[in-house]
Amino acid sequence: MSVYKLQINGKTVQADVEPDTPLLWVLRDHLGLVGTKYGCGIAQCGACTVHLNGQATRSCVLPVSSVGNSKVTTIEGLSKNGDHPVQQAWNEVDVPQCGYCQAGQIMTAAALLKRNPKPTEEEIETTMSGNLCRCGTYHRIREAVKLAATKTK
């Protein structure tokens, strides 16, 4: 066990865990940030997506020992009031069915729009195809990403 100091959602927090513990489980079990979801544990479904220095990253395969001073943003820290353009668009389009995968979808979309504020249809599809949704909300996810792009300043 070792103590790791992490930069999460603008705060320095610490967790006493084994070095190989995936960031996902540090967030969920040790820091009480359960918005980031476990779906597959092998970086196939995207439910665990967080931002690492602004980049969409699968937290389920990222050992805490390799996080270092990177700035981690989770769904809880994406915006203060739940009003990030992507969150707003997700609500306006009414994307969620069960809702379980949506935090990961939102984090993937938010990272996409940060690096590419006006993505093409194909760029949206390529990026978002990494995230699974068993309910099949893909149509509305695509619509919401497009709507969020119009809201992004």
């Binding site: 079990d29 739940g82 707003q88 997700w90 009414d94 069960c98 809702g99 068993r134 309910c135």
Partner: protein
């Protein structure tokens, strides 16, 4: 609200007691504790201090709290139920707070998420719950103004006396109203007067979902709780020997216990427990009847040819019809086992104490979970409480309570509160699959290409009856025989979204298409002709509404411009399941010599649409789900062990693989029926029939991607 299920107290007494118990107007029952939602997204925050035992309560500030008793699994019931109550209450939706009720079968009927049954079952009682409160508010307003109640009306959260141009808010009147006698009979609104029902309402849990709140079972936390994971035996295996020495010595591990051939690792955090589970040394004892997928393929042919079938439906004289046939069409269709793969793996919290048990988590059948827990622990059911969390999907997997009882067993064995979590691998290999099934169809056509005989034999592995013998075309064919054979296997099966029909519909509707082709008839007209025959000269019992089926067929054909499009191949499918009717047209285009599913038109008749947003979501999701599993889904076995364990080898449909979907509903005033399932069954055949139109090749087996015509598509 109909309260026939509540033996005592009577409905009137019960409502009266409830009304007396709190400050505001109380009808029904309760639970509090929803988190205040960020106001920026939508909805008011729950009002602090509103602490009622009610189905529907109104605070003096005018905030209306509506409890939704049924489990929310993504079908949208937590939004749809309150819409129905609020409509009859004439509430301002902006002032409604929705909360999930816990299991309480004395107060709520049928707290189940399954069979697309919540809306049809609760439609009337939810309307009456809203209407009763509205009537009491009107009477309170009339008293306040000393005018006859008949002169008063309501408008979006206000009681109005138009003659004197006065109005009072529901909040102002709530306390007075709650003291009035509960009316025995209330008048419900005319369907044409609905404002909220049939409008577009967003998911009431959006604020929490979109900001990462702890809504799901896997998110549940209790101070001092332990985490447990299990190593379960594969199908046909038993625990022979366990060496847990290494696992027990690992950091954070509290105990390793066994029960029912399972080994449970219990510890302080999920990752520690998962690593210790991987360090277990287990010897399994193999049974003699271990099954592999190639065995099943052989078995199916044997059962079709020589099995002893159970007759499901027999009309006329099938042997004579086939003897007299000018032509016989035969085809066989087969599907593999499928795991449910909800994005949230199975999990449950259990705290077993000396005098009772507390359960919290995602279940489609909380009552069953409670009763089975009580039985396991030797407790009366009332000593077991069940709080319902939002579910990250269920698709039928959470109708079973195996994982709940696992949590209960572990909590009892380690004498501590425990959250049991399945890994994805556990979830995919842990059983209760959609059964593997094979169908053999035979159709007899006379010289005029009339369908004079029809045979269907279904054989399945732990499938129960894999036919739906009264479905179309039963009733439209004079001579018909439907039977089935079941093979019992150690591989466990269960309901999977649209049980049986999730594959049967593909087979039936693909076969009808093939028969229409053999008869030289347009596939849509062929179906319509059969339905006309069923209407004019029915054979045996008809258990579907012929006119409603014709209605969706015609709507889908009209919207898709059936038969009128160039450069696109269309395929038709129609199905009645879970009380709703859905017709779909698939459209396929050829790209680089391979078919691509470009679009699906859907026409559904589910009666009154409660929520446009939720209803459209269910249709689109069912189509994506139906196509995805038909195209890619397959779980195979080697000696009782599933060969696919996670999403790297088990393929699920992704965004780049979905067709465009256009959703239409038949508009009528029929009482609403469910939509969580009925749009899934027809999707496979709409696509397969369009692929045939485009390529001349029929698809007979799922997953489609393994069929020759689709090999090589990415």
């Amino acid at each position: 609200m109909t309260m026939q299920s509540i033996p005592n107290p009577s409905r009137r007494n019960f409502l009266k007691i409830a009304a007396a118990a709190g400050g505001g107007l109380l009808l029904g029952f309760n639970w509090s504790g929803s988190e205040a939602a960020p106001a920026v997204l939508n909805g008011p925050a729950a009002v602090p201090g509103v602490d009622f035992n009610s189905y529907l309560s109104i605070s003096p500030q005018g905030i209306i709290t509506i409890l939704s008793p049924n489990p929310e699994v993504g079908q949208g019931i937590k939004t749809a139920f309150p819409i129905i109550v609020a409509e009859e209450l004439d509430a301002d939706w902006k002032k409604v707070v929705v909360e999930q009720a816990p299991l309480d079968t004395k107060k709520f009927e049928r707290q189940v998420a399954g069979g697309s049954g919540s809306i049809p079952h609760s439609w009337k009682r939810l309307r009456e719950a809203g209407a009763t409160a509205r009537q009491m508010l009107i009477e309170a307003g009339a008293k306040r103004w000393s005018v006859p109640a008949a002169e008063c009306s309501t408008d979006k959260g206000f009681v109005v006396h138009a003659a004197s141009n006065r109005k009072l808010s529901y909040g102002d009147l709530a306390t007075d109203a709650s003291k009035l006698p509960v009316p025995a009979d209330v008048k419900l609104k005319e369907i044409k007067d609905f404002k909220l029902i049939g409008s577009t309402v967003r998911n009431v849990d959006n604020p929490g979902i979109l900001t990462g709140k702890n809504l799901f079972g896997i998110d549940f936390h209790r101070e001092g709780m332990l985490i447990a994971m299990l190593q379960r035996p594969a199908f046909g295996y038993k625990l022979k020997n366990l060496d847990a020495t290494a696992a027990k010595a690992m950091p954070g591990i509290v105990d390793v216990v066994t029960f029912n051939n399972n080994v449970a690792v219990v510890g302080k955090s999920t990752w520690q427990v998962k690593k210790a589970k991987d360090a277990l040394k287990i010897e399994w004892e193999k049974a003699d009847n271990l099954e592999s997928t190639p065995d099943h393929n052989r078995l199916f042919k044997e059962l079709l040819d020589t099995g002893t079938p159970t007759v499901r439906r027999k009309d006329g004289d099938v042997d004579a019809a086939f003897k007299n046939a000018a032509r016989v069409v035969k085809a066989e269709y087969q599907c593999p086992f499928l795991p449910h793969s909800p994005m949230e793996p199975m999990n449950f919290f259990a705290h077993v104490k000396a005098d009772g048990a507390e359960l919290v988590g995602p279940t489609q059948t909380p009552e069953l979970a409670r009763n089975e827990t009580a039985k396991l622990l030797g407790l009366p059911p009332e000593k077991v409480t069940v709080a319902l969390t939002r579910m990250g999907g269920g698709f039928g997997r959470r109708l079973k309570t195996d994982y709940v009882l696992e949590a209960v067993n572990v909590s009892k064995l380690v004498n501590a509160p425990v959250k049991l979590i399945w890994s994805r691998e556990d979830d995919m290999t842990g059983g209760s699959y959609r059964p593997a099934v094979r169908y053999r169809f035979e159709a007899a056509l006379d010289a005029q290409n009339n369908l004079i005989g029809y045979k269907l034999r279904g054989v399945g592995i732990n499938s129960g009856n894999p036919t739906r013998e009264d479905n179309f075309p039963s009733g439209a064919v004079d001579n018909l025989l439907i039977d089935s054979v079941e093979h019992k296997s150690p591989i466990t099966t269960g309901a999977w979204r649209a049980p049986i029909t999730n594959f049967l519909a593909f087979a039936e509707q693909a076969f009808i298409d093939e028969v229409a082709q053999a008869a030289g008839k347009d596939p849509v007209q062929f179906r319509l002709d059969l339905l006309e025959k069923a209407k004019k000269q029915p054979t045996g019992a008809i258990k579907y509404d012929i006119d409603r089926m014709i209605g969706v067929i015609k709507l889908a054909a009209e919207k898709s411009q059936w038969g009128k499009k160039k450069n696109v191949a269309q395929g038709f499918s129609v199905y009645f399941s879970h009380r709703s009717y859905v017709a779909q047209v698939g459209e396929v285009v050829m790209e680089k010599g391979k078919p691509r599913v470009a679009k699906v038109y859907s026409a559904a008749d589910c009666g009154v649409v409660v929520n446009q947003s939720g209803a459209r979501q269910q249709v689109m999701g069912c189509i994506v789900d139906g196509i995805g599993h038909a195209m890619y889904g397959q779980l195979t076995f080697k000696e009782g062990v599933p060969e696919q364990k996670n999403f790297n080898t088990y393929r699920m449909i992704r965004m780049n693989e979905i067709p465009e979907v256009e959703v239409h509903f038949v508009q009528n005033e029929i009482e609403p029926t469910g939509l969580g399932e009925p749009s899934l069954p027809p999707a496979g055949a709409a696509v397969a029939n369009a692929i045939f139109k485009a390529t001349g090749k029929r698809l007979y087996n799922q997953p489609f991607v393994q069929e020759d015509v689709l090999k090589g598509i990415s």
